[in-house]
Amino acid sequence: MAKLTNLNAFDIISLSSGFDLSGLFVENDEKKEVQFTSTHTFSSITSKLGDIAQNLKLKVKKQGGLMKMEGTSGGRKGALAIDAEIFEFTPSFHLVELRKSSGDTLEFQKTLKQDVRPALKDIVWAWQGQPHQQS
């Protein structure tokens, strides 16, 4: 999977939560995307995401710097599909964006809370909007 290494300074700056105006419109649990930072390598992150997709029975498709995880069973608004995009600051510091690409937002948030977040615990440095937890 090709990674987005061509992050220029403005791309880096645009990752700030200060530019994320979605909070004006929706509560945190209604958001369609979340970000987290990780001090792990690119392959470690993709491997972990692959495991999660497998556990959730999501089919994985890689498209450039994007990892698409697609469900097959229909929900209220069709099958849940999640996109994962990985941005490299340095080889050992990445930012990952998880976005709902189709399906129900509530289901997306529930899946994040119950399945994704616990599974990512070992590789997450900090979730967007939350300080880094010293473990």
């Binding site: 220029n8 909070g23 419109f25």
Partner: protein, 220 residues
Amino acid sequence: MGCGSSKRIKRVPGYEDPNVLAAETPFTVSEVEALYELFMKLSNSIIADGLIHKEEFQLALFRNKNQRNLFADRIFDLFDIKRNGVIEFGEFVRSLGVFHPNAPVADKIAFAFRLYDLKQTGFIMREELKEMVLALLHESDLVISEDAVETIVDKTFSEADTKGDGRIDPEEWKAFVSKYPSLIKIMTLPYLKDISLAFPSFVVRTEIEDSELCVDGNGD
């Protein structure tokens, strides 16, 4: 609640007629009215005066009224068109208009340039770019070496500053964005497309709103 003629309605300062705002932004009249609902919620969250103060803006973005952030400050300052320290309704709608998916790309490019022009000199200076990168790293709790920061800033700056005069002007910025369209990704808010769907069931009535203000209840 009958509102009668508009001459008798007491409006918040900075209120503008939804029809005027709809004509001058990508929003429809009913979308402007939905934005009014949102605006009333945000602007009365701490100080019930129908104006968005910095703390209320921070509360909305970060769920923490005391959270300081360089980039949120820039957004706030640009939304505060009159530069009177608060965001009024008209300013709110016009500024959000630039973030609408249908807004002209040229407007988004220009807004982003002003965002990054920290000292408002009309140019993005190298020191400003470095300051912003450092602010982002600090926000992410990431410490990387001075050298690494310099490398990132140098690489970007030299690519953008095609005239080589040590600063990025609007023309260079426009060309740079054409090359890297993701740079204005932050300038589009998909949530704005569904705004009138998102707010019909949203009812916030503060005491001030009930007794002093009058929202025109006649739909579109």
